[in-house]
């Protein structure tokens, strides 16, 4: 068996291809995007696997060369530019709060209000009258009867009635 003399595929710093080496031959198989190292803005993964900007423009390439020299020679804007090549959002930006809660609370209250309208319509158009035992007079007679029979006299109903003064206890 002879080793194949095909060239090895180039390994560049800004693209990394997973290679599948067939037995005794060099060959490259394309990998899906999700299987490759990717950039993420995550609070709990501070140093992503790749830089944010993959293809550098000419000025960015020049800046990267300047980065190889003494960093004190970089201006503030240049440092920020280098940061933005490496990272998409800063920690402050990625952790920013949103106004989503206002939408959620607003929609919830809206639907609760809508349900209230439905219930009002239902009470008016669907339900019949309530039993006569809910009339004020009937409830008064009922209450008097419950007190006369001393219903729940220990801690409940009749316990709150003052039998001497004939009134509710204060």
């Amino acid at each position: 068996m002879q080793w194949s003399s095909k060239k090895k595929p180039p390994l560049s710093s800004d693209s990394f291809h997973c290679s599948v080496w067939a037995v005794l031959t060099w060959s490259v198989v394309k990998s899906e995007d999700y299987a490759l190292p990717s950039y993420v803005d995550r609070r709990d993964y501070p140093l992503p696997d790749v830089a944010h900007v993959k293809q550098l423009s000419a000025s960015q390439k020049a800046l990267k060369e300047k980065e190889k020299a003494d960093w004190s020679s970089l201006s503030r804007d240049e440092k920020v530019q280098l940061y933005r090549i490496q990272f998409n959002e800063s920690f402050a930006e990625m952790n920013r709060s949103t106004n989503e809660w206002k939408t959620v609370v607003g929609l919830a209250m809206f639907f609760i209000g809508f349900t209230a309208l439905v219930l009002i319509w239902e009470k008016h158009y669907v339900y019949g009258p309530i039993p006569h035992t809910f009339d004020h007079d009937w409830v008064a007679m009922q209450t008097k009867r419950l007190l006369d029979m001393k219903a729940n006299p220990i801690q409940g109903f009749s316990a709150k009635w003052d039998y001497d003064k004939n009134e509710w206890k204060k």
Partner: protein
Amino acid sequence: AYPSQLGLQDASSPIMEELMNFHDHTLMIVFLISSLVLYIITLMLTTKLTHTSTMDAQEVETIWTILPAVILILIALPSLRILYMMDEINNPALTVKTMGHQWYWSYEYTDYEDLCFDSYMVPTSDLKPGELRLLEVDNRVVLPMELPIRMLISSEDVLHSWAVPSLGLKTDAIPGRLNQATISSNRPGLFYGQCSEICGSNHSFMPIVLEMVPLKNFEDWSLSMI
């Protein structure tokens, strides 16, 4: 029952007092556990801390295995105590039988004479002023107070359940089976209950009303009913 009632009715028998205290004890445990869990959930939802590696925590795992077992024992022991208390031999002075029907109860006092009657709910349109809707019956179960009474409960057709909450009673009425409960009331008065096992369309409309009276009144009543 009374308007705006939140908790259990006042106890009219010693067993019900025990059940009320047990309920307080168990409910307190339940509230403690629920509030602890709710607090932990809010902690989980309001932290920015993360920890993504595998964790090992033998000590706390041991604690939160042993502690629930202990809590369960603390609930089980009073519960079993009351269960056995309900089964004590108490020498009843009277035996009354109740049969569930669709949809009324019938009562039989056959210790001395044959006294049997049916107890139907009073329809809302026939209520006397001040009576309670869906709770009043035409013939109440009159019983002597402060005496242990044996109730034998069964059914003539489908499952029912004979329940009087303020006396701590709820016993299923099962066709072909005799269940026994013991009533003993601390005080006179009317005690209401409702059928507690689904039995058809009028399941909600077959209440139970016990009228606990002094023994003399009970004797007069039973004479008048024969």
